[in-house]
């Protein structure tokens, strides 16, 4: 714990008070690792084209864990959430628009 200068008066600054729990850090690593094993298991299970969807779902959960716990979205302010959410929302548009064209061409032109 230490004091810091805020241009007007001293305030307490205690970075040690907001450290992550080591058990939680390791639990996330184990969960992601289980996801990796599940990903490989799915690819060996001969479920065909559905494997792609299951793979992406597992990856999304893994990345969700990384973002929420390791990238500290669980402690982030609303502006950070807005920035992260904006990235996902714009990426959704990025995917939706071109795919709505490329993946419907077999239906023929207008």
């Amino acid at each position: 714990m230490a004091f810091y200068f805020d241009h007007k008066h001293q305030k307490l600054d205690n970075p040690a008070a907001s450290v992550d729990n080591p058990g939680a850090i390791i639990a996330v690593w184990v969960a992601i690792f289980v996801g990796v094993i599940a990903t490989i298991g799915v690819s060996l299970s001969h479920i065909g084209d559905s494997a792609l969807i299951v793979h992406m779902l597992i990856s999304a959960v893994q990345v969700g864990l990384v973002g929420y716990y390791w990238m500290h979205l669980n402690k982030a302010d609303s502006l950070t959430w807005l920035t992260a959410g904006s990235a996902l929302f714009i990426m959704l548009i990025l995917f939706a628009m071109p795919l709505s064209d490329y993946l419907t061409r077999f239906l023929g032109g207008l």
Binding site: Y4, V36, S59, V66, L94
Partner: protein
């Protein structure tokens, strides 16, 4: 006044506002990175849906064992950099230096395996736009000294267009290449942090530099969690081999 006086820049109200601004700046950069990679993933998605058979056949040529090892290395490096933030917050300089060094070494290990894999791809004639593409001999898995035919012949026999295999491999090299470039930049940033820690410049009140770098490193890790199944597990693999 304590050493913390220097940590706070004059244009911030207080230290928490400054830390929030530093994190937000990195998150904004990461948002642009998501869109940068998103474009490549989009193109990949279109061709994977158009050419599923060729994508599966080409993916089956890649070394899934090396990809698995690299996944473990990268995931573990994300673990160690998260512990590095904790060490920085607690003011534990020695632990911080050790954890940053381990993170950097794991990242370097990832790139070493990637280099090995690229070399193997070249030797197997899987590098697009190289003269030997698809011309290398495929050996009998039971009797390695016995050559069966070339990759091209085998693909054509199965009704798979070698040009589409070439397209997949182009995606493979572009996606893993830009990801690898991000890893190299991340390793540089991590060793720079190590140097700062070594010099005693990262005190507990300046921990946010480690946290901001970890955000970038985690994003690189997150991208790999998508790349790995998309590139290496899109097709059947016949056992694990180096």
């Amino acid at each position: 006044m304590s050493a913390n006086e220097g940590a706070l820049k004059h244009h911030f109200e207080d230290i928490e506002q400054q830390r929030g601004a530093e994190r937000l700046g990195m998150w904004m950069f990461l948002a642009t990175e998501v869109l940068f990679f998103g474009g490549v993933f989009l193109a990949y998605t279109v061709y994977r849906i158009w050419y599923p058979k060729e994508w599966a056949a080409a993916s089956g040529q890649l070394n899934v064992l090396v990809a698995g090892i690299n996944t473990v290395l990268l995931l573990t490096s994300s673990l160690t950099i998260t512990f590095a933030i904790r060490a920085a917050q607690l003011g534990n300089r020695k632990a911080l230096m050790n954890l940053l060094a381990i993170t950097g070494i794991l990242g370097a290990g990832f790139m070493c395996f990637k280099a090995y894999e690229y070399n193997q791809d070249y030797e197997e004639g899987l590098v697009p736009f190289c003269k030997n593409f698809g011309k290398e001999l495929v050996h009998d898995p039971d009797d390695h000294s016995k050559a069966l035919s070339t990759f091209n012949d085998q693909w054509e026999k199965k009704g798979i267009a070698p040009q589409r295999i070439r397209l997949f491999m182009t995606f493979y090299f572009i996606m893993t290449g830009i990801h690898g470039l991000h890893i190299i930049i991340g390793i540089g940033a991590i060793f720079y942090l190590w140097y700062r820690a070594y010099m005693g410049w990262i005190t507990a009140d300046r921990y946010v530099g480690v946290e901001v770098t970890s955000l970038y490193w985690h994003l690189v890790d997150a991208i790999w969690l998508f790349l790995m199944p998309l590139l290496y597990l899109a097709g059947p693999h016949h056992g694990l081999h180096f």
